[in-house]
């Protein structure tokens, strides 16, 4: 009985699901990687530590997935996993951007040049 119900729901969900254009995602991934390599190669070697902390914060873009899982009308167990993920991502965003800024402030050309 349950199996039947599940299967029925499964078919419905499959029917309702939008066409899943995964090739375009692969293209996006490939192109974004090339752009990333092109941009990052030019990053000043002086700034490799701040670079790593800012990319840390950027990779916390997982926050987007976490918000959807936490906020959707899902069972509480699932939403709890999302909330933990959201907490972890948020920590990275906050600490990543703050510490990057803190480090970058320190790079000066001359004495007393506090810009």
């Amino acid at each position: 009985m349950t199996t039947l119900f599940l299967m029925q729901e499964a078919t419905e969900a499959a029917g309702a699901a939008q066409p899943f254009d995964y090739w375009s995602m692969v293209f996006v991934f490939l192109l974004a990687t090339f752009i990333g390599i092109g941009v990052i190669r030019r990053v000043s070697r002086l700034l490799h530590t701040p670079l790593m902390s800012i990319t840390n914060a950027i990779s916390a873009i997982a926050v987007v997935g976490s918000i959807i899982v936490t906020g959707s009308d899902y069972p509480p167990k699932i939403r709890l996993l999302g909330a933990i993920a959201l907490f972890a991502s948020m920590t990275n965003i906050v600490s990543g951007f703050l510490i990057t800024d803190r480090m970058l402030k320190m790079f000066k050309t001359r004495e007393g040049d506090h810009k």
């Binding site: 599940l6 729901e9 969900a13 499959a14 995964y22 995602m25 990687t33 752009i35 990333g36 941009v39 000043s44 070697r45 700034l47 490799h48 530590t49 701040p50 790593m52 902390s53 800012i54 990319t55 840390n56 950027i58 916390a60 873009i61 997982a62 926050v63 987007v64 997935g65 918000i67 959807i68 899982v69 959707s72 009308d73 899902y74 069972p75 167990k77 699932i78 996993l81 999302g82 933990i84 993920a85 959201l86 907490f87 972890a88 991502s89 948020m90 920590t91 990275n92 906050v94 600490s95 990543g96 951007f97 510490i99 800024d101 480090m103 320190m106 790079f107 000066k108 001359r110 040049d113």
Partner: protein, 469 residues
Amino acid sequence: MMGSLVQGTYVVSTALFVFSLHWMNDPKTARRAVFAGVAAMLLAVAATWIQPVVVHHGWIILAIIAGFIVGVPLSLVPLTAVPQRTALSHAFGGVAAGLVGTAEYYLWWERGAGHLTTFRMTAIIAEIILGFLTFTGSLMAAGKLQEVKWIPQRPVTYRGQNVTNIGLLVIAAVIGVWVILNPTTLLAARLFPVIIGLALVFGVLLIIPIGGADMPTVISILNSYAGLSAVAMGFVLDNKLLITAGALDGSSGLILSIIMCRAMNRSFTNVLFGAFGQVAQAKQLEPGKVYRPETIEGAAQVLEQANLVVIIPGYGMAVAQAQHKVRELYDQLKKRGITVKFAIHPVAGRMPGHMNVLLAEADIPYTDLVESSDINPDMPQCDVALVVGANDVVNPVARYDKTSPIYGMPIIDADKAKTVYAIKRSTRPGFAGIDNELYFSDRTWMLFGDAKAVIGDLVKQFSDTGGIH
């Protein structure tokens, strides 16, 4: 309508992320990078939150507040602790991806098995394996860097280590493939946690054989994994913002890893599977070679006569927190019209760029921080090379001794300077357990003691004599 608004915002956010990284190419524009990054992130969060599928807000707000409560103190750590903070945030990134992947799988398993296409299942499995192995691997790395007591600092190696590790990964992959092919079965739901468990264990085993000197490479690789797990999440959720931002992070980690590997003349596989630990039984001190100690007064006199002084910092400077004393010495020398440069090796310290940040913290202008390959041609004109807590990166053995584990590694040519002063805590060999040829050169004099104390004493000599002249 709502969909277009959300996607449009994601496009703007993606562009801002690219600009953010672009502005990191120069310290002058770099602070703009942070603003662009923050703006991109705010847009992404807002655009996601306003979507109609998001109906519960309480937990979101709580989690965000908790993120601030933990995140703000984490951003205030001393700069010497930045490597472990970075490793810790890789762990957070990994666990976030792993948990979202787990949540999505069980959600669809229960509610809509039709979503569990082969493509999506592959992405989910990649996401959880990458996410959870990054989680434990990064925690281990952070523990090693923080020198947590129950995590061994020295590389741990044992027979069959690589076979065990690779075997474990293969088992996880095989189970993964089965789950991908039969995602809706009850057994798949039972096997899913097994894959998570294997990934967690694999993360630990991957880091156990890695020593401190390899940390810059390992941190970069983990950075890349954290990005790739976000990419996988994007594939799972059909979200292109996740894919682009994750790919930017992944390529950043990749490039940093390549730079680190080149700087050590090693390959990826060699770093991950060829533990530096085997180095421990490397050549011991040959008899007849002795250190020649120098007094602070003597060193100060020679430094005062110099035209060009090159300071070579290493992890020892970070450990001793000597960067501020180094800055005082820099000031004293500059006051006397002496040119002072810092020679920075890419793998000096425990993460890429570690030394630059510490010296910048001490207010040393970044224009005086020179990369090793740029300073080497000037080393023969250098009157004094002052080695502050660096070891392997100045070991001339790397140039000619094929049996040495650091053979082929590009080094800073400190031995070509007219006089070398090396500050060293004790007569024991460095982290890699290799004797440093430089210390026994006839141009080298040793200054034994804690880096901070030794440099402090040097500064005192200068400030005293400064009063007389």
